[in-house]
Structure formats: structure tokens, C-alpha cells
Amino acid sequence: MMDLLKLLTRKKENSKDVAKERLKLVLIHDRSTFSPQFLEMMKSEIIQVIRKYLDVEEELLDIQLTKTTSEDGERIVPALVANIPIRAMRSGNR
């Protein structure tokens, strides 16, 4: 039943929305100037540092290289975007 519903709603999805989603995903890869290994290495070191101070959900950690508009709004600049869910503050730090 769920599958049937999915099939029906999927058919109704505009092809331009499919195009936009696919483009967004492919551009994340195109825009990153370094290799996945490099990103993984950086990620694990960032985690090590943060772990000293915070209890984080390591499996949900999301670090991506993307593009954003600079503060003066004049240029497109690369940006490292990290989403790090915190489970708890480590006690004794404050």
C-alpha cells in the first residue's frame, strides 16, 4: 500500500524538481576541490578536538564543502559547513 502511494506521488513530482535536486547533489561533488579521503581525515581530527569539550553524536556528524556568498555580497566563496549534533556538554568545563 505504501509502495503504491509512493509510486503515485512520485509520478506527480515535477521533472524540474528532479532536475534541481540532482543538480544540487552533483554540484556538491563538483565544487569540492579536495578528495573524499582528505575530507575524512579532516573530519576525524575535528571530531577529536571537539570530543575534548563536548559529547557529540559522531554518526550524525555532517561536514561538507560548499559555496556561499561572501559577507560583502560581492563574491561566491567556498565554505566549510559542519552540522555537529551535541549529546551533552562535558562536565567540569564550565
Binding site: 524540474k16 532536475a19 543538480l23 556568498t69 561566491i76
Partner: protein
């Protein structure tokens, strides 16, 4: 001192040459001294789109190699006052010109012309590097398709890396009917993805093919929808604040009636 603008896209066949020709004629019609440079060495086409293919004597390679003076190679378009074309060489390859030579040539031309418009070849290799070398501004042409938008994104990154700030976007061949039924990305979708400022939207228009057949750019055709879009871009280049018309707006009965009775839409 003139301005050097490169028309680029990454992907081939999205309308760089057509755009270069139309903006060139558009600027000339506005009284600006303009020179168009075709940098697609080996695959030149700006000459046929402009209808000037029979008047080529010297080309870009002759100029940078010093076989002739710049003035000798410039073809004066007799139909539009102040418009000139520097054609590409057809029998050489892209390595016949270096970025340093292009920079020097552009510096020389902008002393005399108000606008130097450079038609860039497809790709990101030597031809692209040559085309952008002397430019201070860039217009990125794309169509509302995944392949063209993806390549445009790559080009925008390369322009930034080469210190060409604030490239502007031209979305070509928009099909309002397809956008309305959700089968073509909207202008907002494309801007959202590419994150650069828009300078023009060209609707898909049969007149472009007809005018290219004749070698007479559509910008001079008062009845062509694409021609109007190019005239608007020309005015924006000159600093005028021309509002963007929503080409995908649903037609209501009033505008349909007006069209029927031959009134031009406001």
C-alpha cells in the same frame, strides 16, 4: 577607456556566439563603438552568424603574430555604425594564441572602443584561458538544462579563480510553457543553484534561427521576442535599470484579447 566583456558557458551549443552577435549589434545600435572578437580558433562561427563571412582577410592569429596590424584585420560592419569584428583563424589551433597576447590585444582595443565583446569557445582548456585573459567582466550563458547549468557552475568557479568578479548570468532558450507545467527549471531555481546575479532571460524563439540563416542578428528585429530580450540586456550593460518581465506569467483574458487585436503587451 572601454570595457572588455567575455561571453562564456562551459557547455557548447547554449548560445554564446548568438549572444555575442546580438549584444554587439545591440550596443552599436545604442551608439557605442564596439568590437567583437571570435576566440574559437579552428571552429569560427561568429562571422557567419554576423553575416560577415565573405569579408575576412586577416584574422586573430595574424594579428597576434604580427602578420598584419589590428586595424587591417577588423571587419567594419556597414549595417551598424561603429561595429567591428575580429574573426578567429580557421586553419590553426587554440595554441596559436597565448593569454598574454590576448591581454595585450584587449588593452589595445579598449583604448579605442567602448566595448570589446569576446566570444569564448566551449570547454575549459586553452581557448577558455585565452578568451578570459583580457576580460574584466564575464557573462555566463546557460540553458535551463542540468548539463548546461552544471557546466556554468564550473565556469563560474574558474572565473572567480581567475579574478573575474561578479559574473552575470544569461538564461537562454527558456520555454515558458514548459516552465508553467513544471517540466523546466525556473529562473529562480537556476539562480538558487548558481548563486550569481541575472542580467537577462532569452525566450526560446524561432526568429533566432531565421535571423541566423540570414546573418542578421535578431536584436535588430522589432518583432522578435528574443530580440527584445537582447535589447534589454544591452540597456542593462549601459547601466539602465530595466525590470525583468516574467515570461512565464499566465496569460489572462485581457492580455489575450489585447494580443488578438494587435496591442503590444505593456
Amino acid at each position: 577607456m572601454g570595457e572588455v566583456i567575455v561571453i562564456t558557458s562551459g557547455k557548447g551549443g547554449v548560445g554564446k556566439t548568438t549572444t555575442t552577435a546580438n549584444l554587439g549589434v545591440g550596443l552599436a545600435l545604442q551608439g557605442k563603438k564596439t568590437v567583437l572578437i571570435d576566440t574559437d580558433i579552428g571552429l569560427r562561427n561568429l562571422d557567419v552568424v554576423m553575416g560577415l563571412e565573405n569579408r575576412i582577410v586577416y584574422d586573430l592569429v595574424d594579428v597576434v603574430e604580427g602578420s598584419c596590424r589590428v586595424k587591417q584585420a577588423l571587419i567594419k560592419d556597414k549595417r551598424y555604425d561603429g561595429l567591428h569584428l575580429l574573426p578567429a583563424a580557421q586553419t590553426r589551433d587554440k595554441n596559436a594564441v597565448t593569454p598574454e597576447q590576448m591581454e595585450k590585444l584587449c588593452d589595445e582595443l579598449k583604448e579605442e572602443f567602448d566595448y570589446v565583446i569576446i566570444d569564448c569557445p566551449a570547454g575549459i582548456e586553452q581557448g577558455f584561458k585565452n578568451a578570459i585573459a583580457g576580460a574584466s567582466r564575464a557573462f555566463v550563458v546557460t540553458t535551463p538544462e542540468v548539463s548546461a547549468v552544471r557546466d556554468a557552475d564550473r565556469i563560474i568557479g574558474l572565473l572567480e579563480a581567475n579574478d573575474i568578479r561578479n559574473p552575470r548570468l544569461i538564461v537562454n532558450r527558456l520555454r515558458p510553457d514548459m516552465v508553467r507545467r513544471g517540466d523546466m527549471m525556473t529562473i529562480d531555481d537556476i539562480i538558487d543553484i548558481l548563486a550569481i546575479e541575472l542580467i537577462g532571460v532569452i525566450p526560446d524563439d524561432e526568429n533566432i534561427i531565421v535571423s541566423t540563416n540570414r546573418g542578421e542578428p535578431a536584436v535588430a528585429d522589432a518583432k522578435s521576442a528574443a530580440g527584445l530580450a537582447y535589447r534589454n540586456i544591452t540597456r542593462r550593460i549601459l547601466g539602465e535599470d530595466v525590470p525583468f518581465v516574467d515570461l512565464t506569467a499566465q496569460e489572462n483574458i485581457l492580455t489575450k484579447m489585447k494580443k488578438l487585436f494587435g496591442f503590444k503587451p505593456a
